[in-house]
Symmetry: C2
């Protein structure tokens, strides 16, 4: 059976979603999970767009050896050089060059003629080939381009050495029938198309990204570019998990396979949601909380009689864990370590000790510790950034007839203890104002959410916040059974990221198809 | 240009999503908004499945006059009678009968032969026609049924009087090409198909519900069943807003129109999300928070130069409001009323007074009052259920080195003042335990989320909780600048619903395709 190459661009196009700000360690953690998941290609970033992207590509290239690591570049010689600089240490490096191909983009944005754009495309692909044998080219906005011109470009870049040519529906405009016809036309009219892998890259503005991608592979495309949870610019990209599970569930129809270990899908989805701070809606296909929940009496009756009456997939296929109560106060270090490894975590001895410490503290407050609690603990313990200010103490009083009042004490950069108090419109506001009095970095809170991560009244409350400073967004997370404490932790987490970024130099953003 | 009938089943299949529990007033509010939106048919419920559903259909039938109001029924004589009883006061009533058609369902769930099922289908459609001229029939699990048998059923029910025949992809199994072929086959092989409207009903288990629906209308179907935000059983139904906006944006391709006022889409999406408690993920097409946000430098540059470079729809088409700061402390009653009406609210004098009171209290705490603040205020003031216990006072102290402690005072059913205190693992836990000491109704907290609904540190925190008692879920919402107060309000809201339900008799659930 023929294989479809899964090209994951969560770290590039996914990270391009408004409000994301993954740091290096988080990008590497996602890349490692994508490796476990079995994706063929990881697009790790757009090196010329920012120092952060450059460093992320370099780190992933160095550390993640099985999959192909891809660096994106605009069709410019300097961009390609920079992409190579970032990706060259990869075991399997790829350079991905893109340039607009539609008249709309050429006329209104690039202000270049078709001939000029074709020349740039050919030259930069050739430049990339001087570095590496694996070169991809994308004519941006292909679905709105003149098909004849598109075929001309594809032939030219294949001649110049492109080994993968990718057709982006950049603005999510195509319908499945149209997009299938476009792919068929390319297969029919580009003489050398057999020398390259034909790929597609779809956006979900009309809710059709997955259908367009599947129609393209049905017709003959053999690489799909997608992201975990379908995150990405605007309405996002084609969702990896939906494409993979459609190909698997309907293998009778598509007769195609992928290299994905589907049992890693759920964990990958959770990790990406947690690190990017983008929730997955309950009715999201494959990975939503309700995707496998049957509510109606008739459906429940059917599933009990025979699951295939209303279930076309087994939740186990995607690695959805049974909601088991696993550990409690009396559980020892060994049981905890065991469970961690079952959940897919491999921790250093030191990290394990910290996480176990957190586990014992939690178990003192909460009777049953679930898998979700453990995930949250690990996130809390292992994903802390280097702290410039450390939260030492927080205390609040509030209510509907009180003026919310907070007292906080931080340990500062030089180890000094700094305390202050403030009033607020609510307890979180009061805590943040008290912290601001100590740290004194101007910023704006743009998002604040709390979620109980497990059932029950004694659940852990996980806080996610986003703050903005000089146009850059910083995410902060905190978890505790006390949501005011979680909120304080989340704010300190975001502030420490902000402070670290101001020290290390900030990053401008800008990227592709 | 031919028209596609938009059949909205948010109140039936959407409400079938695990974790929903809309009360009568909320169902009516959604129905009224669907009327404004311009949907052609509202499926208001499944009267035989529960008393709650029966009452909801009756209420919507009575109150909402322009659209067709549809009641669902299994193919049984009693079910059809009950459906008619519920829907008969509608200006344009419809009865919708369904029965499984796939061998998988017939053998494993219904334990009926094809002939028996066909006979039941025909007889119940005929029964429905004795009541009303507008009768729809759905052969459940049609996409996995034998196409020849399917055509036989459709011919039989059309002969028996069905005026709409609907093809459900009940388990979300079909691909667009297959589903289009199925529709084409029905058009070609059911002799009397021209006497009925051909409809489709798709589920999103593989992420293909919208694509399957669009392919069906391209081939010749003229009714689409869908839900707001795509909510529904499991991964949900085809999303109304994606179908409508695909037909509008790609009118050049589909050459079809709908009756939808697209500028009501955003408001409808928000209302349904708020009342069902199902968040819309930021990368959801059309209505997600990021659907029209451009993050990358290249995309932003393009949009600034000319919006069509990266925008295929104008956010105004779907009624996304500009994020304007509109009111403040000094705004008067008139300005407030004006803004409410611009946002689409028409309040009674008494409700307006309550909402304005809330506005003044909020303006004392918060400098700028945005549209989202106003929406939250109205939700808070107008959607309160009849209170059996009223929250009179709440007060909390907590922190990372304290034992969280709450004091609450409630006004009970007989007007008596009841106060108590409790400790907890966090401040919310403490508040809930103190309330429990007074109210004493056993229940389990299954979900807790807080969202700041506007930007800025003084934002309103909106709390959504779900509690479970005897297998039934109750939702509670609360909003305040103090999230502990919001949490207390949300819990009282859910408890009051629970108490009201226990008084009024509870409801079993069970429904269809």
């Amino acid at each position: 059976m023929e294989k479809v190459i899964i090209f994951d661009t969560t770290l590039r196009d996914g990270e391009q979603a408004a409000g994301t700000s993954l740091n290096l360690a988080e990008k590497l953690e996602i890349a490692r999970q994508l490796d476990k998941l079995g994706v063929d290609v990881i697009e790790a970033g757009f090196p010329a767009s920012s120092i952060g992207d450059f460093e992320a590509v370099r780190l992933v290239a160095r550390e993640v050896k099985r999959p192909t690591i891809c660096a994106l570049s605009l069709a410019s010689i300097e961009g390609v050089d920079r992409a190579w600089e970032a990706v060259k240490e990869a075991e399997h490096p790829r350079i991905h060059v893109f340039l607009s191909a539609s008249d709309i983009h050429l006329a209104h944005q690039l202000k270049k003629s078709r001939d000029e754009a074709l020349k740039m495309s050919r030259e930069t692909v050739a430049r990339a080939r001087t570095y590496v044998d694996d070169v991809e080219f994308s004519p941006m906005d292909a679905s709105r381009a003149d098909p004849a011109y598109l075929c001309q470009i594809l032939e030219a870049v294949i001649e110049a050495g492109a080994t993968t040519v990718n057709i982006p529906d950049t603005v999510g405009y195509a319908t499945p029938q149209e997009f299938g016809n476009l792919i068929q036309g390319i297969l029919d009219n580009v003489p050398d198309i057999g020398k390259a892998v034909l790929s597609v890259h779809c956006h979900d503005d009309l809710g059709l990204a997955v259908a367009n991608s599947l129609e393209a592979v049905r017709v003959g495309a053999r690489q799909v570019e997608c992201t975990v949870n379908g995150i990405g610019e605007r309405a996002g990209n084609a969702s990896m998990e939906e494409i993979v599970m459609a190909l698997k569930t309907r293998r009778d129809f598509f007769e195609l396979r992928t290299n994905i270990d589907t049992t890693q899908i759920y964990r990958t989805s959770r990790l990406v949601s947690e690190l990017t701070g983008f929730p997955v809606q309950p009715n999201k296909a494959i990975v939503g909380a309700n995707a496998f929940r049957h509510q109606s009496g008739i459906h429940q009756d059917g599933v009990l009689k025979k699951s295939i009456t209303y279930e076309i997939m087994d939740p186990k296929w995607v690695g959805i864990p049974a909601s088991s109560l696993v550990l409690s106060k009396v559980s020892g270090r060994h049981a905890f370590k065991e469970r961690l490894s079952e959940l897919g975590y491999t921790l250093s001895e030191e990290d394990l000790n910290r996480a176990f410490q957190g586990f014992k503290e939690l178990a003192d407050k909460k009777k049953d510790i679930t898998d979700r609690d453990i995930e949250s603990l690990v996130a809390e313990e292992l994903r802390t950034v280097t702290e410039i200010y450390h939260l030492d103490h927080v205390e609040v009083s509030c209510g509907d007839h009180n003026i919310p009042t907070a007292t906080v004490r931080l340990i500062g950069p030089d180890g000094q203890s700094l305390a202050d108090a403030a009033l607020g419109t609510g307890p979180v506001d009061a805590v943040y104002k008290a912290i601001n009095r100590i740290v004194g970095i101007p910023n704006k809170l743009t998002e604040f959410t709390v979620k109980s991560i497990t059932e029950g009244i004694d659940a852990i409350g996980e806080v996610l916040i986003r703050i903005e400073s000089d146009g850059v967004t910083y995410t902060g997370r905190g978890a505790a059974t006390d949501i005011i404490v979680s909120s304080a932790k989340a704010y300190m987490n975001a502030l420490n990221r902000l402070l670290a970024a101001k020290k290390g130099g900030s990053s401008a953003r800008g990227t592709g198809s």
